[in-house]
Symmetry: D2
Subunit: 105 residues, 4 copies
């Protein structure tokens, strides 16, 4: 994403607020794929190749802007995500939360 | 994330619509970090260790739900993102778009 | 909202991008209220006074930033919404769409 | 919105989670209008009739789903928003917060 953006001279547009808005745009497209599907049919989406393809594209769009944002902020996404997982494993002890709807993190 | 969720018996809550809503919640927290900062100060965020730490956590939260969603849908995020990059490289030829604000993808 | 913001000298922060990010933050809080509820229990939310109160507050937060954004852009929300409804009534003729999941508008 | 939805037999799709996702889709379209504009040019949007028209439509889309959601939950949006404003006026005393970036509400 960094190379892609530099090659097109697009890094000038990639301040954090603009990147978050772009990410929101892609999250909106992801939401639209699922919005009117009954919850159980949304699950079945995975077996429809055409919808799965589109879901993969929208998820990727969100991911790529997220990666671009992390890069602009000097954040190593892989490292940050691993730290967050470790913190969550400690915070939500299995014996405390098993089978209960997770509290918002 | 899959192991973490299975160990807590949380996969039962992870239908696509619920995961997208959870992701939206985390995107909201990410947006709140930047909302009132002047655009140029948002850029400077990277040099403030405390804000960078929080940004890393919120970006990770979005990423982890995105990964969980991809997993539930049977999507290989790494593969999907690489395909999307290749498609974008073709769609936005450097000679056509250099230095112009990218069209929404 | 305009008077409230002017009295606090907050209009200086209310450029459109910042207001959309603030709105996204509130949408995130609204999403969190519903994210882990089974679809049918989300419907029952209306009968739980405490949850209904919180939903009303989050919906109001989204609405108030939306109103502030419209005001900053010189848009009369009431007039714009009525125009949109008229356009949708024409676009989605009852005989064409009755009982079918609406296309995204 | 209620009459419009009932006439098309669309209320069946309007459980809270689906409506929030639809709202997220419209917020995404609103974000896309502004994402790559420099903050100062976003402000100037109001003077471009074509962009103002589009912004009015996207703001209306968000508003109409918000209204539909409030209606489904039995919430009087006008009353809830007025209550929220009163609470904010008390919470953010002018003498305390004048000219300081508002805390997230």
């Amino acid at each position: 994403m960094r190379e892609f953006s530099e090659a097109r001279n697009w890094v000038q547009f990639h301040d954090p607020k603009s990147l978050v808005l772009a990410l929101v745009g892609e999250v909106g497209e992801l939401a639209e794929l699922f919005q009117w599907l009954p919850a159980d049919q949304a699950q079945a989406l995975a077996s429809d190749p055409k919808l799965k393809q589109r879901a993969g594209e929208e998820i990727s769009d969100v991911f790529l802007y997220l990666l671009r944002l992390a890069d602009e902020l000097g954040i190593d996404l892989s490292q940050a995500a691993n730290q967050k997982m470790s913190a969550s494993e400690e915070r939500f002890a299995i014996s405390d939360v098993h089978g209960q709807a997770p509290l918002k993190s």
